[in-house]
Symmetry: D2
């Protein structure tokens, strides 16, 4: 059991069903990894020989990292959640993950390919939590 | 001319019309102030004699601060903006500002009353930028 | 190999020795987990029946979460690092982790006990990276 | 009286002397402006024709923005402050502002020159709060 899972289990407010809790946990884990990966990809793009071809990739990574971080924090906070707000944020974050997966998928740099894959995983975790179909096509690394 | 306005004017990508730029600038200024005010209100609530009545207020403040900060950053970054994503984030942030204005408006603590007013200003700046009607009723301080 | 490790390996600037890279990776992983755990512990404290006894714990958690997040981001960015600045930030973050481990260690709530342990792990990862002795005494969960 | 000042005045914990409170307020204001300006400068650098000459400038801006934001938040939270930690964070943030002022000062782009000036103001506000001499030489815009 991961530390984040232990924290969720010992939180005084655990109203969710086990299935909901599982989806929330999967989303927090995927978003935390995605935020870190996008921060790394933006920085790696900047260090490439010709960063001017990667401006859009850097921007998608920055937005995706920022939104994944905030969304993971909002999901981690279980006290007095605002469901209407949370749903809008989850949808916006899903758009960011999808846009970043598509942009990173256009570039051959290994860090972009890994990042596209991690963004796809995050988009799916959010779609699963929202109970909507995933929008990101499968990529084979 | 404020520093943020100077930075916008000297940015190599300034595609917007003056009217759009004015709305963007007003939104960045309102969101930056709102993030700071909500951080302060959450902390002031925590320091009150009986914080247990203010749990919902603290939570709304935390979410609003997080979203205002990210939204201000996304508006500040002018390079290769993703309009679809930006619109979803602006709408989610507007929901957060409105929810926080309503919750803070329920409490008599002076910091809550000021914060409700600042959240209302931010909600209006976002509604103006999105060209949609404001949802937050007027409060008289 | 974790995603963060894959990203480090494929980054165009990997000047470090394998031993340094190992310590950086361990620190990023520990700090990311610590930021998430402290965010969760602060929120769980707020949801307890009498949060007024946990104000200091909430504050230590907030500071520790903020600093762990920024420090992890600075370690993740490998391009043109400022070693002098990085060292000061690592030391400040280590102080935050230690202070949060001590405060959480005073409370019997299971989320506080887990959080104290995660903060201790983060403090040790930072001490290891800085090549200074760890300051946090061992806790047995 | 600015909103941030109003929030400080109505906070239930206002232990500081008026002189200390004035320095804290000046620092929060300067750091908030600096975080926003550095975010804008990093993005403007990315949009320049040849961003590869501005990699160090982008990195200094990113670190400075992150640290100014966290430091402003820690100063804004008045409840149960950890003075030892706060001082270390203020010193690290001062190093970041100074390093960013120096790097931005090397470039002729107007956004870099404005940013160098804002970083200098922030460094001085931090030095004033810490009651140590300022390290950043004066720049004339």
């Amino acid at each position: 059991m991961s530390r984040i899972q232990q924290m969720m289990t010992t939180h005084p407010r655990t109203d969710g069903t086990p299935a909901q809790d599982h989806s929330v946990l999967a989303a927090i884990t995927a978003l935390t990894e995605c935020a870190q990966t996008c921060t790394s990809c933006a920085d790696a793009c900047l260090a490439e020989d010709d960063p001017s071809h990667l401006i859009a990739c850097i921007r998608r990574n920055q937005d995706c990292a920022d939104l994944c971080r905030v969304t993971a924090n909002m999901l981690t906070r279980r006290t007095d959640q605002d469901e209407t707000l949370l749903k809008q944020v989850l949808l916006a974050c899903r758009t960011a993950c999808n846009a970043c997966a598509i942009e990173c998928g256009k570039h051959d740099h290994p860090h972009c390919m890994i990042c596209a894959d991690v963004c796809t995983t995050a988009e799916r975790a959010l779609s699963d939590l929202l109970q909507v179909p995933s929008v990101t096509p499968h990529r084979n690394l």
